[in-house]
């Protein structure tokens, strides 16, 4: 950040000029967190995020539940990305329990994960729209997202909290005729999101509002350890689906979207490109998927791990790389589960990005960080 504070700050009488604003928790522009911003006129001179309004102690509670009953819990941090947030845990648990997953299950997982990524991004986009005062951009993504939610609902039986992935595969097979419906709706969905260009991404007002605001340079993006779309918008080519492919991603053709600018606009455009990529992946996966076969390994009722062991698994979620660190001792419950969540990692950039911005840029910068407070708080 190469910003110098307004000279007023050097004065002794600064306190008169500076006003402290509580943005949140009941604020249309904050979500479930509080950002304490200090403004000097129209400029933010200091910003202190205050998360924790949804801290529910998932990690503690995971120590009291066995490997299966943890599943509904660990998807709650990001319910609209629930497959992806569960994914590393399931992978880790599989490694600890020593399970080999059937091929078809892997494909089902990939499809579910990609669908869920789109669902997440659409919700994110909807909120981004409303943060920028674009009510249509809330409604369209929120509506088109339902196309995919409909698919997920057919697949798993729940709209958002699927509890679909289990160690050993997925809970149930695809319903009959799913492939056709899926292809049709995904194609239509892709057509729809292309429409957003005219009204949102190419809209001159949006561009002038988000271009060159909250610039996160490449070095800073790396230094802060940001991840996901934030990182890729700053020009770092890093996507775990390519770099560290899990399940069957190595058999699929995944393209990583990178932008150089690192401003709010780039950060908001990358997810949109990602969605198109996801549509591609879904189509590929539907094609390559074995047409039949088992989707779940039968487990003993209360599986146990071997001994004191730890694994760290990562997947690329809708917000970036999501890691799960599981320490097990020879019990049915994990000894410690730690979710390394992308939202929390991206939060570090927020105070640095907001400093020196105008107050009007706060919502766009904040939400372009791809931050979901519930996930950050766990």
């Amino acid at each position: 950040m190469t910003f110098n504070l307004p000279p007023g700050l050097a004065l002794q009488k600064v306190d008169e000029r500076i006003m402290t604003l509580n943005v949140g928790p009941q604020h249309p522009g904050s979500g479930h967190m509080r950002i304490i911003v200090q403004i000097d006129g129209d400029y933010i001179v200091a910003c202190d995020p205050d998360p924790g309004y949804v801290h529910r102690g998932e990690e503690k509670m995971a120590e009291y539940r066995n490997y299966i009953t943890n599943i509904p819990h660990l998807e709650r941090p990001v319910i609209h990305d629930s497959c992806n947030v569960l994914y590393p845990y399931v992978l880790g648990a599989e490694e600890l329990l020593g399970i080999e997953v059937p091929e078809r299950a892997k494909y089902v997982r990939v499809i579910a994960s990609e669908l869920n990524r789109c669902i997440y991004i659409m919700y994110w986009l909807a909120i981004y729209g409303i943060f920028l005062g674009h009510s249509t951009m809330f409604m369209w993504p929120a509506g088109d997202r339902e196309l995919l939610i409909d698919l997920m609902e057919k697949m798993t039986g729940a709209r958002v909290t699927h509890a679909h992935f289990v160690p050993g595969g997925v809970r149930n097979d695809l319903p009959p005729n799913f492939e056709d419906v899926c292809l049709r709706q995904v194609n239509y969905f892709e057509k729809r999101i292309k429409e957003y260009a005219a009204v949102f991404y190419d809209n001159p007002i949006l561009i002038s509002r988000t271009r060159d605001t909250g610039i996160l340079s490449r070095q800073d993006a790396i230094r802060y350890g940001t991840t996901g779309s934030v990182l890729r918008a700053s020009g770092v080519d890093y996507d775990l689906r390519v770099k560290e492919p899990y399940d069957v991603y190595d058999e699929l053709d995944v393209h990583t979207n990178v932008m150089k600018e690192g401003d709010s606009y780039a950060r908001s455009r990358i997810p949109w490109l990602d969605m198109m990529e996801s549509c591609n992946i879904i189509r590929q996966a539907l094609q390559k998927m074995p047409k039949s076969g088992s989707v779940r390994v039968k487990l003993k009722p209360n599986p146990k791990t071997k001994g004191l062991e730890s694994v760290y698994k990562r997947v690329e979620s809708g917000r970036g790389s999501l890691g799960c660190y599981i320490v097990s001792d020879a019990k049915t419950e994990p000894y410690r589960v730690k979710l390394s969540v992308p939202s929390f990692r991206n939060l570090i950039a927020l105070p640095n990005l907001l400093k020196g911005e105008k107050l009007g840029n706060m919502p766009s910068v904040y939400w372009s960080l791809n931050y979901w407070p519930v996930e950050a708080d766990r």
């Binding site: 924790g52 190595d250 890691g323 730690k338």
Partner: protein
Amino acid sequence: MSTETENPSADAKPEIKTPPAKPAANKPEPTPVELPAFEKSISDKIVEKFGDKVEVAFVKEDRVRINVDKENVHDVAEFIRDGLNYDHVESVSGVDYPQDNEIEVVYHIGSYTDSSLARQILVLATRAPRETNPIPGNDATRLPTLRDVFYSVEFHEREVFEMFGVFFEGHPDNRRLLLPEDWADLPPLRKDFAIKGR
């Protein structure tokens, strides 16, 4: 990277001598499971530099774990950053071991800049003494902060501080993060903090 070789350790040289800069077959991703040779070379470099001070806990595919004492963790971290090209910390997790009377703090360190390290995670673990009646911030449960080495640990260390009571010396901003402002109980992720009914 190769500047470190002028400090050979007393041990025998590691037998696997991969060229340090560009290991084979890591760029094209779809290569099947290979021996964790590259991972071994990483751990060897650390062992080479620090000798007895570090202990390599395991070398698995893509994961290397190193246990360090709390006195050396800062140096090791600096070496990991400067010498091995790792550049960010993905997660900082505390693990409570009441039977050992210690709290382990595990850093998962990754790299964005070095594409050969893209799938690698270096697990750096260190341990702080644990107190049965903790007074967070004012007891012996202390560790040096790594914030000046890896900026990205800032909020993670704050979280570990409030969840385990591990005070990070030198951290500029050791305030409460997630828990309510009036939290007066034990740090909740310790094993002796029992949640109700269990």
